[in-house]
Each structure stands twice: as structure tokens, then as C-alpha cells.
């Protein structure tokens, strides 16, 4: 089975931002995404799960280029005012060309 090396970009953030981020991600070239409910704690005073609803974990398998533009967008738009963490790492994807 041919494996392609792509990037898995993970964004964990407030649920409120979900739809906005997904829309933008698609615009920037992501071909799909997976969402998981999560809770968590970080540098902000309030645990995300306390009142405003759970965090959401967004994962998307993308090319390095698309990944970088998504990361840039998140960093510029949300880092200052919202609870968010973003990271990425390479993964070997089956039929990876589908996601480029």
C-alpha cells in the first residue's frame, strides 16, 4: 500500500470558534477534518469546559503547505484573545494523494 507523508495539524480550541475555523480551513485547502470533544486547561483562567461548553479538537491531514497556512491563520486570528493550542507532525497516510 502506497503511503504518502503528509502533516496532521491539530487545533484545540473553544467550541465557539468551530464553524469559523472549519470554514476557513476548507478555504485554505483542507480536504477533510475530524472533530472530537475535549476539555482542558491551559494558560487562561477559566477551564474551557466549565461553562462555555467543551473544547473541540480539530484534526486535519494536509500537505505541508496547506498546514502552514492553516497554522498561520489560527495564530494570527485567535492566539491573542481565545483559548487555543495548535501543533502538527508528519504522518504516513494511506492513499495520501486524496488529501492534497
Amino acid at each position: 500500500m502506497a503511503l504518502v507523508e503528509l502533516y496532521l495539524v491539530t487545533i484545540i480550541t473553544e467550541r465557539l470558534l468551530r464553524d469559523e475555523i472549519l470554514e476557513k480551513m476548507t478555504e485554505l485547502g483542507a480536504k477533510g477534518f475530524t472533530l472530537t470533544e475535549a476539555t482542558g486547561e491551559g494558560s487562561r483562567g477559566i477551564r474551557a469546559s466549565d461553562w462555555e461548553g467543551k473544547n473541540v479538537k480539530i484534526e486535519t491531514v494536509v500537505s505541508e503547505e496547506v498546514g502552514n497556512s492553516i497554522i498561520d491563520f489560527i495564530a494570527e486570528s485567535y492566539f491573542e484573545n481565545y483559548a487555543v493550542i495548535t501543533y502538527s507532525h508528519p504522518v504516513n497516510v494511506v492513499r495520501g494523494d486524496k488529501y492534497i
Binding site: L16, G45, D50, W51, E52, K54, N81
Partner: protein, 318 residues
């Protein structure tokens, strides 16, 4: 005094206290989030439906004046709250507007608790009160969010926040329920009445158990917010409440109705407003606005405010 003690012995208030105690002793008790959401959908739909059925029986001219008064209070109270926060409390513009948005809107649970309390006192507030909740929910948030908008200092998206608050689930359920109840009328409502009426008070017990636990976590933030906000969270509701009683009685509401209106107007939103504020004013501190509306005003109203408004309403309207 007597009516205050009676309030403390009601299952609904006791459940709220149990929730606080559970968190204080670090119990692992947890109401699953989806159960909490389910109950909240049920409660909103139920008061909408009941209100709609009642509205279908109310002559328009009886309802007109109270509705106008409510709208007026919805515009006035966030401005009062904003002025107090900004000019007496010296809070910055964004946070002042954020907190004010909460006090311009309404806490549905406080409304429900006030109706329960008054019914337990043998009173009978007007059936169309839920309609007033729907009227009160939105304008206050918009007015408060317009302030930084005008001052050009929002940083967030006013338009998105507007959409969020207007299509928010609480408004959809409340308004939707009102319309369904209104169209269905008393006869067609009968088949669903065991579910939405008989079960109501009991479901409220579980809901307040959860709210007690949430409030307990908020209480830990009390020292972070400072004395001013604590005083604000108690005195502004009383002020708004007295205003509401006075105007409510003038608009022809019964004593019980005026007391319920006071509970509504004095309360701070903690469902619709936080979501809208988070979008429109992302720089505002959730610790401030959530602690004020949920950690201070909500328990104050549930325990002391509601009986107080009733006493004042009796005194002014007697």
C-alpha cells in the same frame, strides 16, 4: 421573614445548596453535560409552550403595556449597569460593556424559580410572563454591545454576535415554544401537558443541583473580582428589581407579576449573553462577567432576591 424561610425550605433552593455542598466536599458527583443540556431544552420549551397557551387566552390590551415596559427595561438596565461599572467602578470600556450585556439580558432559571416561589406562596403571576422573558432576552445584549461598537473598540464581530444571540438555542426554544403553544391552544396542548407541566418542578430540581455545582466553582473566583463587583452584583439587581416592580405595577401587573418581572429584570444572563460577548468582545474577561452574573447575582436572587422582590411588591402594590 416567613416567606424567606419558606423559600429556603423549597426543594428547588435546597437542591441548589446541595450542589454547592457537593463541590465544597469535593464529591465526584457530576451531572453529565448532555443530561444538563437535555433538561435545559426541556425547561425552555416547557415555559415557552405554557406561555404561548396562556397568551392565546390573554386579550391584547392586557398584554400590551407590560410588554412595552419590559422592552423599555431591557434597554435601560444595561445602560445603568454600564454607567455604574465604568464611572463608579472605573472598569475599562470593554469589560463594562461586557458585564452590562449580562445584566441587560435575563436568567431564565431565575425567572422560573421566581414563578415557582410565588406559586408556592399561593400567588398566581400572569400567564404571559414567559413572553416577557423572550422580549427581555435580546435587546439588553444588543444595547450593551453597541457601546464599544460605537466607540470603535470591539475587536470582535458585532454582526456574528448578533446572529448568535438571535438564533441562539434559548431564544429559538423559548420563542418557538411560545408560537407552538399559541397556535396549539389549550385543547391541543392537553396531550403534551403531563410531560411539560407535571414534570417541570422535578426537572428543575436536577437542573439547580447542577447550577449549584457550577456556581460553587465560580465562587472560588470571588476574590479575584474584587469588592466592587461583589457589591455591584447585589445592589444593582435590587435597584433594577425595585424599578421593575414600580413600572410593572404601573403597567397593570398583579403583585405576583411585578415580583416575577423584578426577578427577571434584576437577573443576569449566563447563557445567551456570555456566548454573544465572547464573540463580540473577545478581550473582555469571562472571569468578570461570569462571576458577577453566575457567582453573585444568581445565588443572591435565588436565595434572597426573589422573596425580597415579593415583599417589596406587596408593600408598593398593597
Amino acid at each position: 421573614m416567613d416567606s424567606l424561610l419558606s423559600n429556603f425550605a423549597s426543594p428547588v433552593v435546597l437542591a441548589f445548596v446541595l450542589g454547592i455542598v457537593a463541590k465544597v466536599v469535593k464529591s465526584d458527583l457530576e451531572i453529565p453535560r448532555t443530561i444538563y443540556q437535555g433538561i435545559s431544552i426541556y425547561l425552555l420549551l416547557a415555559i415557552g409552550l405554557k406561555g404561548g397557551v396562556e397568551l392565546s387566552k390573554t386579550p391584547f390590551n392586557e398584554f400590551f403595556l407590560p410588554a412595552g415596559i419590559t422592552l423599555f427595561l431591557g434597554v435601560l438596565t444595561p445602560l445603568i449597569a454600564f454607567a455604574v461599572l465604568k464611572y463608579i467602578g472605573k472598569m475599562d470600556l470593554t469589560n463594562s460593556a461586557a458585564v452590562a450585556a449580562h445584566y441587560g439580558s435575563v436568567s431564565v432559571v431565575t425567572f422560573i424559580a421566581s414563578v415557582s416561589y410565588l406559586e408556592a406562596q399561593g400567588e398566581n403571576p400572569e400567564g404571559f410572563m414567559p413572553t416577557l422573558v423572550a422580549i427581555l432576552e435580546i435587546p439588553g445584549i444588543i444595547v450593551a454591545l453597541l457601546i464599544p461598537q460605537i466607540a470603535n473598540k470591539n475587536g470582535g464581530s458585532f454582526k456574528k454576535a448578533l446572529h448568535e444571540v438571535i438564533t441562539g438555542s434559548s431564544i429559538v426554544l423559548l420563542l418557538g415554544g411560545l408560537i407552538i403553544g399559541y397556535i396549539a391552544g389549550p385543547v391541543k396542548f392537553e396531550s403534551v401537558s403531563p410531560f411539560f407541566v407535571s414534570g417541570f418542578q422535578g426537572a428543575l430540581v436536577i437542573f439547580l443541583l447542577e447550577l449549584g455545582m457550577v456556581t460553587a466553582k465560580r465562587l472560588q473566583d470571588l476574590r479575584k473580582v474584587g469588592f466592587f463587583l461583589v457589591g455591584f452584583g447585589i445592589l444593582i439587581p435590587i435597584f433594577h428589581g425595585v424599578l421593575a416592580i414600580w413600572l410593572g405595577l404601573m403597567a397593570g401587573l398583579s403583585i405576583a407579576g411585578a415580583a416575577v418581572l423584578a426577578a427577571m429584570v434584576s437577573s443576569g444572563s449566563y447563557i445567551a449573553a456570555p456566548a454573544a460577548v465572547r464573540i463580540a468582545l473577545p478581550k473582555a474577561s469571562p472571569t468578570l462577567y461570569l462571576t458577577a452574573s453566575l457567582g453573585i447575582t444568581f445565588p443572591f436572587n435565588i436565595a434572597l432576591g426573589i422573596p425580597l422582590y415579593y415583599v417589596i411588591a406587596q408593600w408598593l402594590g398593597g
